[in-house]
Symmetry: C2
Subunit: 195 residues, 2 copies
């Protein structure tokens, strides 16, 4: 068994990523310096380069990690009726977005700071997530329980609507999470012609 006493790599690594995520989301990738990240973790700037080859790889790693976590968290039940699956998707997407607001915001805002390869990788992962909703919508339309003019457009529209909850929702505000999710589900149900 390897001796790790005295080494803090196992905890410093995640700390670096957590600090970078928070700072990037709050101030923007370009506005955050490696020194700020290091200070948040409690190490010197040079030490960060033991955990990432450079600043952009740090960002790309955060976004890949986020998309993979999102995809694995969405556990669809492919045998359930389409309306049940749609409701589950709506409630899942809202809850996940609110629980991971920093990651969600970052993965919408900082795509432009990725090089082409990293950008393509993230876009592909996002496409798989969108496909999950599109599949539900197509099944619902085929089963006659939803009325859709265009499944792909509806996918993009609904995801934008649901993700937008992060722009205004505040814990302890007029509506709690349950009420917000209920209201969004009502809007979605109407939008897919199942009001």
């Amino acid at each position: 068994m390897a001796r790790t006493t005295g080494s803090r790599a196992a905890i410093t690594g995640p700390l670096v990523r957590r600090a970078a995520l928070q700072l990037f989301a709050r101030h923007g990738y370009a506005a955050v310096s490696m020194r700020q990240i290091a200070a948040a973790v409690g190490v010197q700037a040079g030490a960060l380069y033991a955990y990432t080859p450079d600043k952009q790889a740090l960002l790309a790693g955060l976004l890949v990690e986020h998309m993979e976590d999102l995809l694995s968290a969405w556990g669809d039940g492919p045998d359930a009726p389409p309306m049940d699956r749609l409701e589950a998707f709506v409630r899942f997407h809202i809850a996940y977005s609110l629980d991971h607001a920093d990651s969600v915001f970052l993965s919408y805002m900082e795509l432009r700071n990725l090089n082409p390869e990293n950008h393509a990788a993230i876009a592909a992962l996002r496409g798989r997530y969108e496909d999950a909703l599109t599949a539900i919508l197509r099944e619902g339309a085929a089963a006659g329980v939803m009325r859709l003019a265009d499944a792909r457009l509806t996918t993009m529209a609904l995801i934008a609507m649901l993700t937008g909850v992060t722009n205004w929702f505040r814990e302890g505000g007029r509506l709690d999470r349950q009420a917000v999710a209920d209201h969004y589900w009502g809007l979605v149900r109407g939008a897919v012609g199942a009001g």
Copy 2:
């Protein structure tokens, strides 16, 4: 009549703002240097300070200008029936967002780079725009032609959905602007219970 021959202030000023808007939208405020903006305009960096006291005032000016233009472009017809006004809002918002994609993106992404006073000014202008939609929804609900659980939540949800069109719409793609607007209007109609 003042002599202006030899002075290019009248054209350089707008050029500076146009270049800054494009670069800020493309790369992010923090990632763009005054030297880059100057190069895009064709002057030296120092010359920019004849048009703005500093970099942040340049950003704030762009955002105020955008919100004021948006508000004045939305010419509501308060006497029309609520469903007609809602349809007009949907089509206006989509068209305006696609026509001013850089400004729209910037005013969502770079609020955090404003100081508190500038931030409050922009938020107030945005609130007035949101109020316009909320008013339409409340009238529709009162008239019994819309069914809404919560007018303010619906406002935020619909604006996020409509603005999201800028994330995926591409000129010359599968759907043209007219088709996109028609489909979004169908979604909105269903969402407000008037499907």
